[in-house]
């Protein structure tokens, strides 16, 4: 079971992500957008929108640091386990609160305002379910881990090396054997999110307008 979930599934998800994104971008970009809804309900977006995205950016950054930086590097930099946890929680708790609260406010807006409902597709609905499950399991896992309920489990000695082994195309699924269920749930949610990414509104994050910064003001084009 571990081999399927943590040895094969991640590669399937990444393949779908890359191929699906490339396919959608090459086939039809007319729906390549986040479907901005500020036009339909402005005031309720004011706090929720920036809050959600800030929380998301912080959480993403935290995941990159926690998973990609090997433990021996931080150890050799003189950061012991206790200090590392304090730093991780100092960033992680606000990120979780912003992310979760932002998501809650956005959902309240999405399903509470009459005008918003007309622009919510079925796919959006599924996306929100999976996004909610991912955020909830992530926050819950962190909470359990931080309070010591999960014993001496350390994700930097299990999940992180497993993830890096994936990146090197030598998946070591034995590392995942003793990982608590809540972390496994979080991982499966995240893999589902990665799989459906190309087919949802999430693709808008790939359209960050970098080229705008080097562009001249006025564009002329021939017919």
């Amino acid at each position: 079971m571990n081999e399927i979930f943590f040895g094969a599934l991640p590669y399937v998800a990444i393949t779908v992500l890359i191929v699906g994104t490339a396919y959608r971008y090459s086939k039809d970009t007319s729906t390549w957008s986040t479907k901005s809804s500020q036009f339909l309900a402005k005031s309720s977006l004011k706090i929720a929108g920036p809050m959600f995205h800030l929380g998301l950016a912080m959480a993403f950054g935290g995941h990159v640091i926690g998973i990609l930086i090997p433990k021996f590097l931080t150890d050799s930099a003189g950061i012991d386990e206790h200090l590392y946890h304090i730093i991780a929680l100092a960033g992680g708790i606000p990120a979780g609160i912003l992310f979760f609260l932002g998501f809650f406010l956005l959902m309240q807006r999405r399903f509470g305002k009459a005008r918003m409902k007309v622009n919510t597709s079925t796919m959006d609905g599924w996306l929100y379910v999976i996004l909610f499950a991912t955020i909830a399991t992530g926050c819950f896992a962190t909470l359990l881990n931080a309070t010591g309920i999960l014993g001496d489990f350390n994700y930097r000695e299990t999940i992180s090396p497993w993830f890096r082994s994936l990146l090197m195309f030598q998946p070591d699924t034995s590392l995942m054997e003793n990982v608590p269920l809540i972390f496994k749930c979080h991982l499966l949610c995240a893999l589902t999110l990665i799989t459906i990414f190309p087919f949802t509104r999430l693709v808008h994050c790939l359209s960050f307008p970098f080229e705008y910064f080097g562009r001249s003001h006025i564009i002329y084009r021939r017919k």
């Binding site: 007319s30 986040t34 901005s36 409902k117 307008p209 021939r222 017919k223």
Partner: protein, 474 residues
Amino acid sequence: MKIKAQVAMVMNLDKCIGCHTCSITCKNVWTNREGAEYMYFNNVETKPGIGYPKNWEDQEYWKGGWQVKGGELSLRSGSKIERILKLFYHPQQPEILDYYEPWTYDYETLINSKRKNHQPVARPRSLITQKRMNIKWGPNWEDDLSSGESARQDVNLKKIGEDIALEFHDLFMKYLPRNCNHCLNPACVAACPSGAIYKREEDGVVLVSPDICRGWRHCIPACPYKKVYYNWKTNKAEKCTFCYPRLENGLPTVCTDTCVGRIRYLGILLYDMDAVLDAAKVDDDKNIYPTLLDVIKDPSDPAVQNAARESGISEAVIKSAEISPVYKIIKHWQLALPLHPEYRTLPMVWYIPPLSPIMKKVEDRVYLPNSDAMRIPLSYLASLFSASDTKVIAKTLQRLLDMRTVMRQKEINAAPPKNLEFEILEYEKMYRLLGIAKYADRIKLPAGLQGKSHEELRKLQGSTGYACPLGGCN
């Protein structure tokens, strides 16, 4: 000197009767779709009034257009980084209620209703949520109500500080039809993070490329005229296209074609692309209009024509620029002015300011008043058309008055008035173009902006319009 061609429009406000035919025909052609119900690429506003969307002229709030800081031109909505940070929530973004919530009526109840004591009523229903709604505002809510509830909120009135302007005996009113200005220095183009909006080289039409548009919506607050719209269904920006498929075939825009008052003139201007930026960043707001006139070049000047040929402008376009009615009105007689030049986008839809009835306090015996004795205060018109420079308005109106006086004196066989700016013949030409010009005189467009003549286009009839790689298409 790098010459470019621009299709420009002039509207003679003296003749606008506020019938909204332009808005309706435009709407029927372009915006009668889901997501676009609230859009009017062309709308007619009663001035004084707050317009559509509400208070669009209040740039302290919307931060539209350009500003000059330390000699440099920048978007008023902020630097590129400031604007990117507004991706998640944009404070200056208009919402549906700033325009109005579009609606229809339950017409079927009129037919399907059972026999009752009272007549059945078709109640309004929102075109967005499809639910019953109360109508609170519409695209021309205070039409013809210059003393309406919101008229006093008109930014131009506040600027001229004339509280008495809306007292009953001094009431005034005029119409302002508006579509996209297809500016020489368009703020919407500069604000688009995706690079979806562009100015067409051939005819200067500003267009949105929906394939590239990602719905960041920065064009909307950036346009000071609020003439880019957000389609809530397709999540793309949409705007007036100047009916480019018609222009390409030598036909005028739908609004021009259907104008009942025949107020619209359409033609080609040749302008110096290299001088555009300098005109947009002139220090004093009042100097923008005269500098903009310098950017527009004389199409019968051989040097300009040669420069135009060098930049690849076809003979058909140059020829039509030479006989352009808009060049005559804008540059030769200087009768038309740009709307809110202080926004610095250098608009290419121009307005001939309206004459208005004589003020009550001026003597009854006067046949035609001076330009400063008319009902619409010069300062109000100046706030609209000349960055508050009343001298420009007075001069323009005086030319229109002179034209009328010349024609009247001719009619009654009296001596022409003295101290005229132009030759009598010029006033007669002016009268012909403004007063009685036919369709073909008001609209001078080259037959096909690709430079194809009518004959060449006729040969294409019945063909597919392109060459197939394997042949056999024609």
